[in-house]
């Protein structure tokens, strides 16, 4: 289950905000047991406060043949929440599975339905990776929200049996100069760094995007990559009657159970005079040190063969872990909940089940291995407790001091939640937006205007250097980082002997998705795919984090449906499968949804990391700069339209997936044969921005000659997809251009790297000193955030 209780948290926080905050909430005097539930069928239960609809509550009663106990109600309500049950997205997500062909599945060892997807990268190595969101908590408490977001996705990766080896963090914020962004961004960045650095996970990628629509709703997505030997793959299931259930890691406290605290409230119980606690804020504090120890502890447990099944605890805590483990196994499960080590006093079973305390894992262990298991935990100072065992029954039975408080068929909690066919409606305004053509906006025409535009674009918040952010992240730890920021993709060495490695990239231009969610999602995939290919790696598999507004808005649901279809169809064309992902709904401020933001992560493999392609030019003496791909007049959703005109309209750049595939093949072949000394993909800001970056990163000047027949503005700023700027040593130029010609990939010479020069010279238009470009590019974020 997920560690990112977006909806649960959102509900809980608003419960706190809206509720009578100052009223002390009285604890229930007596324990609600299955026996009591049977004998008091008419008791009024606060299911609506817990987010359940009338018919959902009725279904629970039907399943159980009685009213649920407090503890059962707590379990069902969290597990049937949007975040845990995917009730609005399920019918659409199915499409990923339906479109995945056997060829695409070939290298996939685990896919949708597991904690994270796993792919076989050869030589006995498997790689697991996944993206998740922690959006709402990061708005409430930026540092801790982001930190626990990283912690959560890392535990998902651990639960597959892998060693986490890298993280990436696609982030989105409101306008860069908005006061609230000054509150949220530094906290989020410090939180991502604070947690990831302390875990010893190099941060090798991510995004920082600013847009008005994220002002009250920042997106904090986090990706983790893990590595294992194929035989170490662990799947979450509890089989084998008699096997023990062991909870290990941190103690369980009152974290993130604001919503569930109504179960101890006077609205539910009119017993008077109790000294209960207030509804609690759902802010969880992360403890990366405990998680780091947990990682090492888990790996030692795996390598010693002491684990039958394993599950991380995240969103919905023990409710999720126990019901998912039990329903994936072949029997039932008995849990003695009072054995759970607690951090707070007087917690009731519903609270223990719902707590979202961080840094906990749950393992299934053979009875004869329990002692050895405990020894390993002791070595790492990890608290471990046997809390139950697998039974040969069918139900999940949970006891509290020998009283039965939960007795449910686990599948009904974990997998058989409600499924909604939400109304889907293409908004009428889509046509108006499409008709608002960006190609007719007033353009810079004189040389001076073009020069100013280059500088202004380079300094704009979405294109400027991310160093202020990435300098707070450790990218070196463990000594296997071959490429990280500011490279198009992160590249990590997996095997020191053979040099085998992986590459990752995450992308999404949500402006494109707003104009056309189907094409926009495809462009997000195309860009992540291209970024991976630009490092010299071969794209292999896809994960995603689908960030959208409210599913109850038919227009949003249409965006969602279109994005899923676009992404899935593009995956088929590119021949790489979606192995997992995450959906985050309700990202909106009032009735205003965020731009539809399907963040796509692509994983690639590289057989020898020493041939990775760097981004900066100047690495070799005398390089020719070649532009691969076609440039069309495409400004819909472009960064130029935003920076120059604050405009969002028209249609996004054309999608050509066959071209993307060809590009990737040519980059791979060129890298294998040592023909490419640098490469940088073209995206936001077009050729101008790619040139600025490749020159500044390589600390090397360049002379640029735009094609004679081209409109310089279009050549410099169009955002046509499927393009990469490559630098080839002069000695390889002919061989490389011949290869492009043979494969029918458009390839145009656009200039040369000039080690002797310290400027970017766009001939016949303008010459800008690198120092001036650097001041523009690097100055923006420090000026805004200190």
């Amino acid at each position: 289950m997920s560690n990112n209780p977006e909806d649960a948290t959102a509900a809980a926080v608003s419960a706190v905000a809206d509720g009578p905050e100052s009223d002390p909430v009285v604890e229930r005097a007596e324990l609600d047991t299955v026996g009591i539930a049977k004998s008091s069928p008419e008791l009024d239960q606060p299911y609506r406060e817990l987010g359940l609809k009338d018919d959902e509550y009725q279904r629970i009663r039907e399943i159980l043949g009685r009213r649920p106990t407090d503890a059962e109600l707590a379990m069902y309500s969290v597990m049937w929440s949007e975040h845990c049950s995917y009730k609005s997205s399920k019918v659409h997500l199915k499409y990923f599975g339906e479109t995945t062909t056997p060829e695409m599945r070939e290298k996939m060892l685990a896919g949708i339905g597991e904690n994270a997807g796993v792919v076989d990268i050869g030589d006995g190595w498997a790689v697991t990776f996944k993206l998740e969101s922690h959006n709402h908590p990061s708005y409430v408490e930026p540092y801790q929200g982001a930190a626990t977001g990283v912690g959560g996705i890392v535990r998902d990766i651990m639960a597959m049996g892998a060693r986490p080896v890298a993280v990436a963090d696609p982030l989105r914020f409101g306008p860069a100069d908005a006061p609230d962004t000054r509150r949220v961004l530094p906290g989020v960045v410090a939180g991502v760094g604070g947690y990831g650095n302390c875990l010893g996970l190099p941060n090798i990628g991510g995004e920082v995007v600013f847009d008005e629509s994220y002002a009250g709703n920042p997106l904090v997505n986090a990706m983790c990559v893990g590595v294992m030997k194929t035989e170490d793959l662990h799947l979450a299931h509890a089989s084998g009657a008699g096997n023990k259930i062991i909870l290990f890691g941190a103690r369980t406290g009152l974290d993130g159970i604001g919503g569930v605290s109504v179960l101890a409230s006077e609205t539910f119980d009119d017993a008077e005079g109790g000294t209960g606690r207030k509804k609690l804020p759902s802010v969880q504090v992360g403890d990366p040190f405990t998680e780091k120890v947990l990682i090492e502890c888990c790996l030692e447990l795996y390598h010693s063969g002491l684990v039958v099944g394993i599950q991380d605890l995240g969103g919905a805590g023990l409710s999720c872990a126990t019901s998912e483990l039990a329903s994936a196994g072949d029997g039932g499960m008995r849990v003695d909940l009072d054995r759970v080590p607690l951090r707070a006093e007087g917690m009731n079973p519903a609270e223990v089940l719902s707590s979202e305390s961080q840094e906990r894992m749950c393992a299934v262990v053979r009875p004869e291995d329990v002692d050895a298991f405990m020894k390993v935990c002791e070595k790492w100072d990890a608290l471990a407790t046997v809390i139950g065992e697998v039974t040969d029954g069918d139900n999940l039975e949970i006891y509290w001091h020998d009283e039965l408080v939960v007795d449910v068929p686990p599948r009904t909690v974990a997998h058989e939640g409600p499924v909604y066919e939400r109304p889907v409606q293409r908004p009428g305004e889509q046509d108006l937006i499409a008709a608002d053509n960006a190609n007719t906006l007033t353009r810079p025409s004189t040389a001076d205007e073009l020069r100013d535009t280059v500088l202004k674009m380079a300094a704009s918040p979405n294109l400027c250097s991310r160093e202020w952010v990435t300098d707070q992240y450790d990218r070196y730890v463990r000594g296997n980082t071959v490429l990280a920021q500011p490279s198009d993709g992160g590249v990590l060495r997996i095997d020191e002997e053979t040099g085998r490695g992986v590459a990752i990239a995450t992308d999404c231009n949500a402006r494109y998705t707003r104009l056309d969610p189907y094409a926009g999602a495809q462009l997000a995939l195309a860009e992540a795919y291209r970024n991976v290919a630009t490092t010299g790696a071969t794209p292999m598999a896809v994960t995603n984090c689908l960030n959208f507004g409210s599913p109850e808005d038919p227009g949003v649901m249409w965006q969602f449906q279109q994005a899923v279809r676009g992404l899935a169809d593009a995956c088929v064309e590119l021949g790489i499968p979606v192995t997992g992902g995450n959906v985050s709904f309700y990202n909106q401020t009032g009735s205003q949804p965020i731009l539809p933001t399907p963040v796509v992560g692509v994983l690639g493999t590289i057989d020898d990391v020493t041939r990775r392609i760097p981004t900066g030019i100047g690495g070799e003496e005398g390089e020719t700069l070649l532009l691969l791909g076609d440039t069309r007049e495409e400004f819909g959703g472009s960064e130029w339209a935003r920076v120059a005109h604050g405009h969002l309209g028209g249609t996004p750049p054309k999608v050509d997936l066959a071209r993307e595939k060809l590009l990737a093949e040519v980059l791979l072949a060129g890298s294998r044969d040592g023909m490419i000394s640098a490469a940088h993909d073209l995206s936001e800001g077009g050729l101008a921005q790619a040139l600025v970056e490749t020159a500044l990163i390589g600390e090397c000047g360049a002379r640029v000659i735009l094609p004679e027949d081209a409109d310089p503005f279009v050549a410099l700023f169009s955002e046509s997809a499927g393009r990469v700027l490559v630098a080839v040593p002069r000695s390889e130029e002919l061989r490389f251009t011949d290869m492009c010609a043979a494969r029918e990939l458009p390839c145009a010479k656009v200039g040369v790297a000039d080690a002797g020069s310290s400027s970017l010279d766009v001939q016949g238009i303008t010459e800008i000193p690198l120092a001036e470009l650097r001041a523009a590019w690097e100055g923006t974020l420090p000026a805004l955030f200190g």
């Binding site: 009152l254 804020p281 403890d287 305390s357």
Partner: protein, 79 residues
């Protein structure tokens, strides 16, 4: 001029990994009898006499403490 002390402590129900690290270290170092440790911040401010209590409270609430996870107290002390 007065000296003002602002104490900022993690809320009771909020996890305090820092305090916990100290609490687990103590028995290892041979110190028994310390059952709980919480770690917070202490600020010492030199304040002009015309700065009133309401202002100090506002500074504590909005700048020195993060009220989502911390609570604070302000007091004037002898310099």
């Amino acid at each position: 001029m007065a000296r003002v002390v602002v104490d900022v402590m993690p809320k009771q129900e909020i996890l305090d990994p820092q305090g916990q690290a100290v609490a687990t270290a103590l028995p290892r170092l041979g110190y028994a009898g310390i059952s709980e440790v919480r770690q917070g911040k202490r600020f010492e401010l030199e304040v002009a006499d015309d700065v009133d209590d309401a202002t100090l409270a506002q500074i504590a609430e909005t700048l020195l403490a993060n009220p989502v996870i911390e609570e604070w107290t302000v007091r004037r002390v002898e310099a």
